[in-house]
Symmetry: C2
């Protein structure tokens, strides 16, 4: 059935410029946008239009890196250095998900909060628990948002209680791939925690599984200097090359979180194999990891999306992540004597919508042929009187929260 | 009349450590805390106790640097460099306040939003408009929060339309000082915008006014490199020394926003004259100004409070400001190879409560003899089950918002 909504449409088609369509119509059917027009043709005269007046219609946000098992912990213990933080809080948070009652409560809240903040798709590290991962799938499906969900594979270099036997983990991961392979919105993703917690054998088998089922891959890459050295001492090569050796670097669609410390060879490989780096700016400063050279990497042809990295990052709202990406980029510009340009608002918006959405399908733009995911934003009266549409969007990103979002559409379905 | 509330009390008495009193009582009368105890004496048996159960009781927040006239503009235009941003947005925002209907609407929202986010006192740059400044006084008084409000003095180096004649400005500022001198919660503060927009004559007369009425002083200091050079070219000396020459640097209680680029002489003068620097981390990165060496300055004996610097900063919630101060401090630590320690959560909390509150009076601690300003915080069930009180507070600061604040007391009065 053809449906139509009306409002002020704004999105990015190219990375550095907003497309603005005031008082325009989105015509869609079966979750796909048929057309976006400013003047409606006569043939639609008998269709009821949902008119959102002076509200703003934007694409949804897509969080490309988030740890569901750490969601209870956001904002806690961030005075601690990384390794103490992991040990005192993070592994403890994750193991708590072995309790299905707790996992259900946490993941129900997690899924609902994502939707509520306008994140219409998330690529998630679950934990090493098969049961909790299944609960997460169920809660995403119940909430109606898009997801790539990965049961985490880790067999060494972490407390014994959180590790799983490789054979068991491989069976469970394969079983989840099969179980959800026909789901339209929520699917599996191969998820080694990071190179140091897998063995060569583990990485090899995960690579083979990704190939067998054509399933995407996610992991961590070049997050902190100490970690990079560790990987080199374990595998004797650059970090990205470790994943690449085992078919885990761009042979199927691949996300790598962080990329703060990339060698030239890694940058080249990343660009050539179309691996998407996930910039998680809050996490990188909370954990004193460093600043990703986002603008420089983009100029070198690398695709970069955004992630909250909950609970290294602390805020679930992707607007916060965009702002922090811009702020860190400004600090790099300041460091090099203002010779480079920082990320613009449009660029960071493009990362959160077009690059993020692109990982899930034809998503992230409000254009003919794209899937019908969008948010309706309503700001206050003072704004509407004074500011341009682009300024109003800027305001939502800088100071908005879930309360500004009036409607959330996924694949044409009005959720909530 | 003696009143008692009960809950989990947490505050900082010294900069680097939280004081925690589980299930304890605050006994207060006429806005002053008589005692804080874990076991209640029998003599209070007939007083009704407001029991907030497992909620957290903390001091209020005090924002030491905020521009009310820019409040409509928060989050807008931050891709622009400072001077273009000022011209396109900021002066336009401020001049709009000449319209009393607009000013009333904006300041009503501003005052209400401050309270709602737990900011129980704010030191405000109004605009050059006398009428709007008066409206701001009225709205603060109506809302019930504490304020130091300054009508901004500027006579040169900005668009003609926003400047005021010095004689007129001095008369109006003096009139506001007199008008509100007996108000308990809201008072005047001498407010030259910054050295470049005042003449020597203007600074001299403002210094004399501060002395005559024993009124505090606020302005901007060492915010960006370009600005510091400008001040030197105009006055031929260090920035702080300009204010000092005219009795505007610590002769009465003084706040100086930013202090990113301080010379050793300025640091010494600041410490010796007890001037409080106001760290506005979001503003400093949004406008690509630089990173204040907050931890180092504190170690050198300088007192530092926190400010949102709305609309250079974009968030009104002081928790955000605390987090950004910690994050920027971590980046400095990272730059010096992790040799220094970054600001801790307790330190940044101390800045927002004890240093901030201290500017207003005996405030910022939940202790006998202090004024009874506090917030009641209620977090979610998952938190309460798992985390310590300090972790729960951390969470409120990192991810909380106005919805977490259940009650706001100013001078013993439950507002809202």
């Amino acid at each position: 059935m053809v449906q139509i909504i009306k409002g002020n449409i704004i999105f990015t088609d190219t990375p550095n410029k907003f497309e603005i369509l005031n008082d325009s119509y989105i015509i869609y059917e079966d979750g796909i946008i048929l057309d976006v027009v400013t003047d409606l043709e006569d043939k639609y005269y008998d269709i009821d239009i949902d008119d959102y007046g002076n509200s703003i219609i934007i694409p949804g946000f897509y969080d490309l890196h988030v740890h569901s098992g750490q969601y209870s912990q956001c904002g806690v213990g961030l005075d601690l250095p990384l390794l103490k933080w992991l040990k005192k809080y993070t592994y403890e948070s994750e193991i708590r998900c072995e309790d299905p009652v707790y996992a259900r409560k946490l993941y129900e809240k997690f899924s609902r909060d994502l939707l509520s903040y306008g994140t219409l798709g998330a690529v998630v590290f679950s934990t090493t628990s098969y049961e909790a991962t299944e609960i997460l799938f169920e809660e995403f499906i119940r909430t109606g948002i898009r997801g790539y969900i990965g049961m985490v594979e880790m067999e060494r270099n972490a407390p014994e209680y959180i590790l799983k036997d490789l054979d068991y983990a491989m069976d469970m991961i394969e079983s989840l791939i099969n179980e959800y392979s026909s789901n339209k919105l929520v699917k599996s993703i191969i998820t080694p925690r990071f190179a140091p917690t897998s063995t060569r054998e583990g990485l090899k088998r995960l690579g083979a599984l990704a190939k067998k089922y054509k399933v995407p891959v996610q992991s961590h890459l070049d997050e902190s200097e100490e970690e990079v050295e560790w990987v080199r001492s374990l595998y004797g090569k650059d970090y990205a090359m470790v994943y690449d050796e085992f078919g885990l670097y761009g042979d199927s669609p691949t996300l790598m979180a962080h990329g703060v410390y990339m060698t030239d060879n890694e940058i080249e490989l990343t660009r050539d194999k179309g691996v998407i780096l996930v910039h998680c700016p809050d996490s990188n400063i909370n954990l004193s990891s460093g600043i990703m050279h986002s603008k420089e990497l983009i100029e070198k042809g690398v695709r970069i999306g955004l992630g909250t990295d909950m609970a290294g990052g602390h805020k679930l709202f992707m607007g916060e992540v965009m702002v922090r990406a811009i702020q860190l980029s400004k600090l790099l510009t300041l460091q090099d004597g203002m010779k480079s340009e920082p990320l613009s608002l449009a660029e960071s918006f493009y990362m959160a919508t077009v690059v993020g959405g692109g990982f899930f399908g034809k998503l992230g733009k409000i254009k003919k042929g794209y899937e019908m995911d969008c948010l309706i934003i309503d700001d206050d009266e003072i704004n509407k009187e004074i500011y341009s549409l682009e300024d109003r969007l800027s305001k939502f990103i800088y100071i908005g929260d879930d309360r500004w979002i009036k409607k959330r559409f996924v694949s044409g379905v009005d959720l909530y």
